[in-house]
Amino acid sequence: MADKKIKLTKADRFKVMWHSQFLQASWNYERMQNGGYAYSLIPALRKLYPKKEDMAAALQRHLVFFNVHPYLVSPILGVTLALEEDKANGAKVEDEAIQGVKVGMMGPLAGVGDPVFWYTVRPIVGALGASMAIQGNVLGPILFFVIWNVIRLAFMWYTQEFGYKAGSAITNDMSGGLLQKVTRGASMMGMFVLGSLIERWVNIKFTPIVSKTPVQKGGYIDWGSLPAGAKGIQQALIDQANGLSLTKFKVTTLQNNLDSLIPGLAGLLLTFLCMWLLKKKVSPILIIIAIFIVGVVLHVLHVL
């Protein structure tokens, strides 16, 4: 269509992408992201509809119920831009057509966004940053912030451009297997990472002592016969490095026993218990508070 009078430039489209970061600012119980959707389109609508009544119609058209994942809105915005551009140029695009595209893309895309971004990318990047941060490494938060925002901005820009170029044809692709594949792939990787995170980070240490056995002579450091001064310390450290025990007794806690069986078992069982409770519609807040109480009580009883 070479005869288009008004064309959205790259800069216009970039402004829309930038605006769409405020999609959820007026999130409300009635129509959810409707205000944000209209707000995101404003830079483009201003260019497309210089006449006030056209602008009013367009704004009202986009203030209807809308809800999707805040990043997956980008391909929808892209398609909407393509349609609105055609409409502004006199093509016959019914309001219902625009509405239909929006609603048609909303459902499937919202289902992709949550598992991909909230349940795979953020836990992975977050855990990566957090595991560094716990050791006091400032790189942890910086890495998290940079990686996350690069992924996010790149995703929003390129999918919006993709939507804009594909136009309404995109709805045909939506039912195709690609989206479903991405979602399933993300769930697989997400579950893998969750499995490893639970093993590493749900820390439960049972302190009760199961056994206390004397170590054979020569198996422990004989503190009495060490040379005096720095030499003695050196000898002790060498002995320890050679695997000698520090004390005459080998103490085995309940945790040592569990670890030789399945490391992280307690954390895994606790996670399953939480899943079961959540499925029984117990509020997560209640579970969190209960776990704190259990932690304090068991600590006082010297179990943990």
Partner: protein, 269 residues
């Protein structure tokens, strides 16, 4: 804390509050929010460490539809302020994570209030739209996000108004068994976030991935990046083998049709 630091803390709180709803730059994630509060108060490393611990707990918290997740923004901002004021250093981190949890709940109610106010605001937007007044819509959108910012900034300012000596006195009343117990509880609470995520994602198809991840994580030499790479590779292999080996129609549902050629042979017997 001097006046400039206090103002900076309130600004960080405001950003976290805005992001708590926008979910874009992630200023509300503990890792970022606690670090920034540590930075502006001159306790950078302390903030980083607290952020790391809280982030582990909050990994599974997400804004999705009707599901109510605890509010990470208020939890991280307020607990970081309390930790800094307490002057306990890294020793106080267990205590701070414990305090963060009830705050996460309190934050939820504040979000609900703002979201209800927003319902009124979109009706004003409707009226503006009728007049084609896009400037007003822009303005209301900004105002609304500022309300979300104030949701965290005001509690942060109130917390700052309590003198540090008072905070220290109150925390000093807390016996050691309670704060130690809370640290232990904090380490376990992580499980709730993971459980929420698993409940959302789990299907029969993906459980084996969970099992492999759990087993491999016991090898402490594997870094998180290595684990992520293994997970990604496994998922890619699974999907590509499925499209090659599946005898058609196997990719349409989550449960049936594994696309496993061996399984097909066994089925044929």
């Amino acid at each position: 804390m001097n006046a400039i630091q206090m103002i900076l803390v309130v600004i960080v709180a405001f950003l976290a509050g805005m992001e708590g709803i926008l979910d874009q730059w992630e200023f509300h994630q503990p890792l970022v929010a606690c670090t920034l509060i540590g930075l502006v108060t001159g306790n950078l490393v302390l903030g980083v460490i607290l952020g790391g611990y809280l982030q582990m707990i909050a990994l599974g918290w997400a804004n999705i539809g009707a599901a109510v997740a605890p509010d990470a923004a208020l939890a991280s901002v307020a607990s970081a302020i309390i930790l800094v004021q307490s002057g306990q250093g890294t020793k106080g981190i267990g205590m701070a994570t414990g305090i963060a949890m009830p705050l996460a709940v309190a934050g939820l109610f504040l979000t609900m209030i703002v979201r209800t106010i927003s319902t009124g605001i979109v009706h004003i937007m409707d009226a503006d739209a009728k007049r084609g007044d896009w400037r007003k819509i822009n303005m209301w959108q900004w105002l609304d996000v500022c309300l979300q910012g104030l949701r965290i900034a005001i509690p942060a300012a109130l917390l700052l108004a309590i003198p540090a000596s008072q905070v220290r006195y109150w925390l000093g009343l807390m016996p050691a068994w309670l704060s130690d117990g809370m640290s232990i509880g904090g380490a376990m609470v992580v499980a709730v976030g993971y459980a929420m995520v698993i409940n959302m994602m789990a299907s029969r198809e993906v459980w084996p991935f969970f099992a492999i991840g759990f087993a491999l994580a016991a090898i402490k030499d594997l870094t998180l990046i290595a684990l992520g790479a293994i997970g990604l590779a496994l998922a890619l292999m699974y999907l590509s083998l499925e499209s090659k080996g599946g005898n058609g129609g196997s990719s349409n549902s989550d449960n049936d049709g594994t696309g496993d050629p061996l399984g097909d042979i066994i089925d044929d017997y």
